[in-house]
């Protein structure tokens, strides 16, 4: 990795040839009674920011969301397909679907088409049987449940922060603060993440969404 002030490629705008990607930071945390999910809001084509207010927290069902990272096209297509499948399944069952079911549907698709797809997805939500759950389906198509999960290009920078600051049994407010801080730190360091922080809390009561604007983000001593 070479640090340069000027790129050879500035002579030719390379975003015309680059794929649209959600170079991203996404995160989800379980707490007693639900989950908190968060994402940044930047979508890039190469060095051009195609959308600076993207919503990467996509509803799959009433109380199940997914956080998308990787190729914007791939993740949108997968999410649409899973939303359809889960809706159908839920009508057949005549009850709210399990978060694990949604995660399995994502995994099925991401694993089957792993060569063609570039998608890292975190599935999070609440169901009456098991409460708040977070499942991560990274590139390649494995699925695993974790109490806290981060993803996207910006996630590498905050592994240390998340490992050291996560504690089991945090309250909803603590999880919101933890997620907002972690996303802010990642956005400061990752060129492909930025914009605003979008948060959502999913619990038995439903979904509460919030947005933290750039100037309202938490500040750290060296940034």
């Amino acid at each position: 990795i070479v640090s340069t002030f000027n790129n050879y490629n500035d002579l030719y705008p390379d975003w015309t040839q680059r794929e649209v990607s959600t170079g991203t930071t996404i995160m989800a945390v379980e707490f007693e009674g639900g989950v908190v999910i968060g994402a940044d809001s930047r979508t890039t084509t190469g060095a051009y920011i195609a959308n600076r207010v993207t919503d990467k927290l996509t509803p799959i069902h009433e109380r199940i969301f997914c956080c998308r990272s990787g190729s914007a096209a791939d993740t949108q297509a997968i999410a649409d397909a899973v939303t359809y499948q889960l809706g159908f399944h839920s009508i057949e069952l005549d009850e709210a679907p399990l978060v694990q079911t949604a995660a399995s549907l994502f995994r099925e698709m991401c694993y089957r088409y792993r060569e063609e797809l570039m998608a890292g997805i975190i599935v999070a939500g609440w169901d009456p049987r098991r409460g708040g759950q977070v499942y991560t389906v990274p590139v390649g198509g494995m699925m695993t449940r974790q109490p806290v999960s981060v993803g996207g290009s910006g996630s590498s920078y905050i592994y240390g922060y998340v490992d050291s600051n996560y504690r089991a049994g945090m309250s909803k407010e603590e999880c919101l603060k933890f997620t907002a801080e972690a996303l802010t730190l990642a956005m400061e360091r990752d060129g492909s993440s930025g914009g605003v922080v979008r948060l959502a809390v999913i619990s038995e009561q439903g979904v509460e969404r919030q947005v933290i604007l750039g100037n309202q983000l938490p500040k750290f001593s060296t940034v």
Partner: protein, 217 residues
């Protein structure tokens, strides 16, 4: 992924990486340097107890990362150059040591691939940390380097405070190294910590089982 108009020469991506985590932090009265101890070649660990903190002078150390051969050679050359100056002045400035490192890194930047963090204490400016990545010279309150450093960017940004005590800085360094070693496959082993203040340099080794534990262990 590379741009077709200016393809990257292949040999640039074939270098032998000695993945590492190194960190240096200033505190009120000195600096603390830390490193892991793993030298890996591909999937094999060729040395699990290598000390990557190399003395350039009594109160100036450097932390090695990148190609082990390149980094060690730069450190030895600068050590020699500083020894030559020793007879004229008592304590070489940390800035001088860092500049010597930077000069070599910059002049041979096409051939070398090593990133040294230079840190130490001198009478003029106290504790200082200099990053010399790719021939750039930058004085910073703290610096991190190596493959493992990516994972702790968020952690150090959030947890670093100015004017920490010596004890707090040492804990900060050990925590940062532990977190990085926990996530980076190319970093691991023991943690070497060197504390430099006006009284000299103190070397310490924190063994694997003495490292702090975080939630997933």
């Amino acid at each position: 992924m590379s741009e077709e108009l200016f393809p990257e020469p292949e040999w640039l991506s074939e270098e032998v990486k000695t993945g590492t985590t190194i960190i240096a932090v200033t505190f009120d009265g000195g600096v603390v340097l830390g490193s892991d101890s793993r030298v890996s070649a591909g999937e094999s660990v060729v040395n699990r107890v290598m000390n990557k903190l190399s003395p350039l002078h009594d109160k100036i150390y450097c932390a090695l990362s990148g190609s082990a051969a390149d980094a060690q050679t730069i450190a030895e050359i600068v050590n020699y150059q500083l020894d030559c100056i020793k007879h004229e002045e008592d304590d070489p400035l940390v800035c001088s040591a860092a500049t010597l490192v930077k000069n070599i890194s910059y002049k041979y930047k096409e051939e070398l691939s090593a990133h040294l963090i230079v840190a130490g204490w001198d009478r003029k400016k106290g504790g200082q940390v200099y990053a010399t990545l790719n021939g750039l010279l930058s004085r910073q309150p703290f610096a991190i380097g190596g493959s493992g450093s990516f994972y702790i960017n968020g952690f150090v940004d959030a947890e670093y405070r100015k004017n920490m005590t010596k004890r707090e800085s040492q804990e900060f360094v050990v925590n940062a190294l532990t977190l990085a070693m926990g996530r980076d496959g190319s970093s691991g082993g023991v943690a070497y910590v060197v504390t430099i203040d006006k009284d000299g340099a103190e070397e310490k080794c924190v063994l694997g089982n003495e490292l702090p534990k975080f939630f997933d262990e």
